[in-house]
Amino acid sequence: MKIAIPIDENKEDTTICMSFGRVPYFMFIDTESGLVEFIKNDAAESQGGAGIKAAQIIVDHQANILLTPRCGENAAEVIQAAGIKVYRTNGNSVKENIAALKEEKLTLLEEFHAGFHGHGNH
């Protein structure tokens, strides 16, 4: 199982980022092998549609689960179409949230905020 998490810094004792589309990095954790990967989020600088591009990164890295405090509608559409489950994080600790996930204490994220339509600088 591969878990994706938006994080503030590219190191293991980092915190979970409040933003999804414009988060600086993603952490991918493979629970079977224990391998951890840090991936820079190229979507962070994009003009619009950052959520869609960030979601594409999650999909392309073949994550099975996404842990995030929030997520936009468009990103959610991409992620769910790829069969990835989205859970709402609780607090900003990476470790605690992974433990909570394993203990089945996290709930599915079901509310997705509306996008900004990518017309921000138009």
Binding site: Q47, I52, V78, A81, G118, H122
Partner: protein
Amino acid sequence: MNIAVLSGKGGTGKTLVSVNLAAAAENAVYLDCDVEEPNGYLFFAPEKIIQKNISIQLPVIDRNRCTVCRKCVEFCNYNALACIAGRIILFEEVCHSCGGCRIVCPENAITEEEKVIGHIESGVSKNVKVKTGILNIGETSGIPIIQEILKENEEDQRIRIIDCPPGSACSVMESIRDADYCILVAEPTLFGVHNLNLVYELVSKFSKPHGVVINKCLEGENPAEQFCIDKKIKILGKIPFHQEIGMMNSKGMILVREKESYRNYFINLLNEVTEIRN
């Protein structure tokens, strides 16, 4: 001359001011850019309506031709395309109709399709030419409609009153792009100050000459007025909270066309704005 009328939220009297300014002018064009909720036409009840559909071009992907090379996904600056489970999907509301993906596709798998997103109604109401932009329900961006309303330059030197969408989003920026003067309509409350500040910051950012009309004024404290004094913003006028105004407005009557005193008030307001500019 283009005069844009803005407010931080709906219901402040933006349409009241726009409609009456246009009606007070000898010869004006009233452009309703509040495409999600246009209501100026309810006052003007324009005649000889001509309707024009506004559409955008959207890419359509032929799945039989697409090899999922992802060139289009990588190309799209707005991230309107995604690739999931071996299929390319389009996020219509994010697409800016630039046509680029069609050009980069090596398989000629992308064509374009017209999609009607709304329309413009043009008509006349006595001395005023009325143009109303109407965005279809479910569409997210009215910008193509606003651009079209503002594009057609009127043949004569009429005063153009632009009734902007409420708020300070990109559709408002588009509406004030060519404005020579911006009138900010505010309510005299603390909440009104918050909304006023939104549009004040916007017009300042675009360095547009501007002034404020405070609507629904009562005796006593007036935080919006104080805000203008503190920020040295020109107060163009105050409209009292008056039963008669409220009644006429709710019946869709145009104050200027009903009563001499209102007529003079808005003529003066218009003169002030046009003089500031000259």
